[in-house]
């Protein structure tokens, strides 16, 4: 699947769960993999997905002033680690949640986080709110 394109709007699904598939036997895997492929294919052919990828189970975290700390994963709590994403091209939050509910990973312990994309940097929005409050207070 292609990478994301620049997006002005839409919803992001983040798939959580760390190597949950390692607990599955052959039969479950043989059941899950075609289900998962079919799910994605259906979303793509109906134009509901703009992009998506799996993330490798490796990586680092950069933190501290000027990025002075670089540590290997695990990331967050390992069961909350993000294993992949899908960018949805749907109009409403309800539709995004409805799609998340059909994710085949759910049956095997996966979690799907549904997040609206925004164009505006939240720090900018917060600053504007503060400015409005100050104007009201002085009015």
């Amino acid at each position: 699947m292609n990478a994301l394109e620049m997006s002005n709007n839409g919803y992001l699904l983040l798939f959580h769960g760390n190597e949950w598939w390692k607990e599955l036997g052959r039969e479950e895997l043989e059941q899950y993999i075609p289900q998962s492929n079919g799910w994605l294919e259906n979303l793509m052919t109906t134009g509901k997905v703009k992009g998506g990828q799996a993330l490798a189970r490796s990586g680092v975290i950069v933190s501290g002033k000027n990025g002075c700390n670089v540590t290997d994963g695990p990331f967050a709590e390992s069961k909350e680690v993000v294993g992949g994403y899908l960018l949805l091209n749907v109009e409403t939050f309800e539709e995004a949640v409805a799609i998340a509910k059909t994710c085949p990973q759910l049956a095997f312990g996966g979690k799907v986080e549904v997040r609206p994309l925004t164009n505006e940097c939240p720090s900018q929005v917060h600053l504007e709110e503060l400015t409005r409050e100050e104007q009201l207070a002085t009015a």
């Binding site: 990478a3 993330l55 490798a56 002033k65 993000v82 994403y85 994710c103 939240p122 600053l127």
Partner: protein, 133 residues
């Protein structure tokens, strides 16, 4: 770790509410810096996508499709936005991650190689190959 990756790298910006304690001047500064940073990376062809995420959302889990509100994970670990980078090496992705203007304020940047295929399928293939030996 695989240092070469033709699929690119994803930066996940972790941290919630680090913005609130900042003064208006600091907020303006970090916002401007962040936007200039993304613009430069886009112009250089190194960032192919990116968005902030709203501080709201839902988590769907379990066979019963339980829908719950955020916050997600611990709020200091919550994902507030992402960049998708088209760079060939982890080293280059790291150089970019270290430029993040949120770092001095407590933001953490998770740097993840994008996988060529679903890890479930590749694991299954490996097992199947092993079984036939």
């Amino acid at each position: 770790m695989n240092l070469q990756n033709q699929n690119g790298y994803m930066l996940l910006f972790r941290g919630n509410d680090w913005i609130k304690p900042l003064s208006p001047e600091e907020k303006q500064k970090v916002t401007d810096q962040w936007m200039a940073w993304f613009k430069r990376l886009t112009e250089q062809g190194k960032a192919v996508a990116g968005n902030p995420l709203e501080r709201e959302g839902k988590v769907v889990s379990g066979n019963n499709r339980i829908v719950s509100d955020g916050p997600f994970a611990e709020s200091k670990e919550a994902i507030g936005g992402y960049f998708l980078l088209d760079v060939p090496t982890m080293d280059e992705a790291l150089v970019i991650a270290k430029e993040c203007p949120g770092l001095p304020y407590g933001v953490k940047v998770e740097v993840r190689p994008v996988a060529a295929e679903c890890p479930v399928a590749s694991e299954f293939k490996r097992e199947a190959e092993f079984a036939t030996i």
